[in-house]
Symmetry: C2
Subunit: 386 residues, 2 copies
C-alpha cells in the first residue's frame, strides 16, 4: 500500500436546498473539489448515499449518474452504502483503490437530499439503519434506539442530562463560525435544558439536524502529488473499519462502541501512534450520547467518563482534544450519507490551516470517525499534515 | 497489486424463496462459500444488493447485518450498489482490497429478494436503474428502454426478431442442466416466436426472469493460498470498470455499449490477451439484445453482427465461444443485485472443472460481464485457471 494524500476538498453548505436536485448537489461538491485540487479529471468516482432509494428520489446507480453529470462520463463509478457510515466507507474504498495503485486519482463524494421527504417518511427511512426484523418492526424510531442507549448509560454511570450539555454547546458555538453549517447559532445551558423532548432522555438539542448536503475529496498517491507549495500536504496515516450487531439488544454491552474501539485501534496501529497524539477529533455526534461513547471507545476518556471531557472543557477549540470543530453532526448538520465525507474534509481543512475562525491550534494530526446505525459500522481515519 | 485467487464459491438456487429472508439467503451463500474454501473467517465482507431499500425489505447497512448473521460480527463490511451491476462492482472492490494487501481474505456476496414485492412495485424498483428525471419520469419501464434499443438495432442492421432466438434457446438449454437455475426447461424456436409480447419488440422469451437468490465467492492472495491440490486455482487475470450516461438518449450511439468496450479493453490489457483467447463468456443477457451488443462491444462479433454468433452456433457449449453456460440471466435468472456474483462464480466453476453437465470443453480462460442500467455501468472480469 502506497501513501495516499488528500489533494483538495469541496463542500456544499448543509441546508434545505429546495431548488437543487441530489445530483446537482453532488455535482457542486465534485466541481469544488476538483477546482481545489487543480484537476479536471479523476480515474474513479466513489459515491456515498444512504436514502435516495428509500425515500423518493428513486435513483439508483448514482455513481454513474453523478460522474456523467460532472462531465466525467466513462470513468469507473459506484456507490457505497453503510447507513450513516456510508461516507466513511466510501472514503476507505477510495483510499484502498489509490493506495493499491489500482487508480491514481479517486474522487469520493457523499451526498444526501432529505428535505423533500415528509417527516414520517424520513423517520421511516432513517429506521432502515436499525434491524428491520428485530428493532424497526417493533416501532422505535432511530432516535428512540439512541434514547435507550443514553438512558442505560445514565443508569450505569450516574450522569444527569445536564452533564451532556457541553457537547451540544460546543458544537453550536463552532457551527456559528462555519459558513457550511446548518445551525449557526450558539446555544446556552438553559436552552439545552429546556429544549423540546424528542424521546426521553434525548431532547431536541441532543439531536443533530438532518439536511441536504454534499462533500467531496480528491485522493492521490502522496509520492506523485507533492503539491505546489501552496498548502501543507494531508496524508491519510491510518484507517480502520469494523462492525458490530445492528440490533442494540444483541450487543454484550450496549453502552460500549466495540466497533469504534476496534476500528480506532486499527487506525492507531497503522498510523503508529496512540490517542494521546491526536490533536483534534471529528466524531459522530448524531446524538450527544454518541460523543461520550466515542471518546471512551477510542481511548480518550475512561469508561463511563465521556461527559467529563465536556464538563472539563477538554473538547473546546482551545482544549486538550477539540471535537466537532466545524459544528459536528449536531450543528454543522447530518445529511446522513454525506456526513462521513464532511468529517474527513473538515479534518483536512484544519491540517491545511484553512479552517478560518474554526482553526484549532497545533492541528498536526486529526481523526475522523463515522458511524453507521447505532454503532453497527464504524470507520476511523487518522490524517496528518505531511 | 498482488495476484488474487478465488478460493471457493457458494450459490443458492434462483427461485421464489417465500420462506426465506434476504439475510437468510445471503447467509446461506456465505456459509457455502466458506465451506467450499475451507475457511471459517474472512477479514472483509463486501455485499451487493440493489433493491432492499427501494422495495420494502427496508433494511440498509446490509453489510454489517449479513456479517453478523453469518457469525462474522466485527469484521469490516459494507454494501456496493450500481443497479444490476452491483455484483460486479462489489467483486471488483473485493479484488482491489485483496490485491492491495489491505486485507488477506475478502468475501463478496450478492443477494436479492424480489418475489415478496408486488409486480408494479418491482417494475418501479427496476426503473430506478434508469434516469429518474429524464427517463423514468416519462413512464417507460426498464423493459421499454431495452425495447427502444432493440428496435433501433433492428432498424440499423436489418435483423428480424427471429434472428435473436438462438440466444434464448441456448440459455434455456444450459439452464435445464443447472440445478441453480430458475427456468430449467428448454424452449423451441416456435415457442420463442409465439411468446407473449412484453414491450415490442421484446417478448417474454427475450426477457430474463427476476428471482430471489444469493451468491458468494472468497478472494485471497494467490501466492498465499496455493490450494491443497484438490482443484485447479482460479486467478483473476483482468478487471475493468467503466460508465456511460444512464439515459439512453444521451449516448451518441444507443446501439453500442461504450462502457463494455472500455471495460473489456481494460481487462484484456491487464490480462495481456485479446478476445480470441477467451474460451467462454458469461454475459449480461437480461434481454436478448444485450447479448448481441456485448458480443460486439467486447470484440467478438463485428459491429451489427451479434445475432450472427447465435445463428452460426458459435455461442453453444461446443461452439467457438460458449455463452451463458449456466443459463445466463435469461434462464438461470436475474436476482438483480446478486447477478454479477453468480456470473463470476459460474466462470470459476467452469475453470475448476466443476460445472457438471454444464462443463464446456477447454475451459482455461473465462470472462464475466455485468451491466448496471441499460449500459451505464459495466464491469468486465477475466479469470483463468492457474
Amino acid at each position: 500500500m502506497r501513501e495516499v494524500a488528500i489533494l483538495g476538498a469541496g463542500l456544499v453548505p448543509v441546508e434545505e436546498h429546495w431548488e437543487r436536485s441530489l445530483v446537482d448537489l453532488a455535482g457542486e461538491a465534485v466541481r469544488l473539489a476538483l477546482e481545489d485540487s487543480g484537476l479536471e479529471r479523476v480515474d474513479s468516482l466513489i459515491l456515498s448515499n444512504m436514502l435516495a432509494a428509500a425515500t423518493g428520489v428513486a435513483q439508483l446507480n448514482l455513481g454513474a449518474q453523478v460522474a456523467d453529470w460532472c462531465g466525467l462520463r466513462g470513468i469507473e463509478a459506484f456507490k457505497v452504502e453503510a447507513a450513516c457510515g456510508s461516507g466513511g466507507s466510501a472514503f476507505r474504498a477510495g483510499l484502498i483503490a489509490v493506495g493499491s495503485g489500482h487508480v491514481d486519482l479517486a474522487l469520493v463524494v457523499g451526498v444526501e437530499k432529505m428535505s423533500q421527504t415528509t417527516g414520517p417518511a424520513t423517520t421511516a427511512g432513517l429506521a432502515t439503519a436499525a434491524d428491520a426484523d428485530y428493532e424497526a418492526a417493533h416501532g422505535p424510531s432511530f432516535v428512540a434506539l439512541n434514547a435507550l442507549i443514553m438512558r442505560r448509560y445514565q443508569h450505569e454511570y450516574g450522569w444527569q442530562h445536564a452533564d451532556f450539555a457541553p457537547f451540544s454547546i460546543n458544537a453550536h458555538a463552532n457551527a456559528a463560525r462555519n459558513p457550511f453549517a446548518r445551525l449557526r447559532h450558539p446555544i446556552t445551558e438553559k436552552e439545552y435544558a429546556r429544549a423540546r423532548m424528542i424521546c426521553d432522555p434525548i431532547n431536541l438539542l441532543d439531536s443533530s439536524p438532518i439536511g441536504d448536503g454534499a462533500a467531496a475529496v480528491v485522493l492521490a498517491p502522496a509520492s506523485q502529488f507533492r503539491g505546489e507549495g501552496r498548502r501543507p500536504r494531508v496524508i491519510v496515516a491510518g484507517s480502520g473499519a469494523a462492525t458490530d450487531s445492528i440490533a442494540i439488544h444483541d450487543r454484550r454491552q450496549p453502552t460500549w462502541l466495540t466497533a469504534a474501539e476496534r476500528s480506532s485501534r486499527q487506525a492507531y496501529a497503522q498510523a503508529g501512534l496512540g490517542p494521546e497524539q491526536i490533536d483534534f477529533f471529528e466524531l459522530h455526534d448524531a446524538f450527544s450520547i454518541m460523543a461520550a461513547l466515542s471518546l471512551e471507545a477510542c481511548g480518550f476518556a475512561e469508561r463511563g467518563q465521556g461527559p467529563r471531557w465536556g464538563l472539563e472543557g477538554f473538547i473546546l477549540p482551545t482544549g486538550r482534544l477539540p471535537i466537532s470543530t466545524h459544528g459536528g453532526l449536531k450543528a454543522r448538520g447530518h445529511p446522513v450519507g454525506a456526513t462521513g465525507v464532511y468529517q474527513v474534509a473538515e479534518v483536512a481543512r484544519q491540517l491545511w490551516g484553512e479552517a478560518g475562525p474554526n482553526q484549532v491550534p497545533r492541528a498536526g494530526i486529526g481523526m475522523a470517525q463515522n458511524i453507521g446505525g447505532s454503532g453497527a459500522t464504524i470507520l476511523t481515519h487518522i490524517l496528518r499534515a505531511g
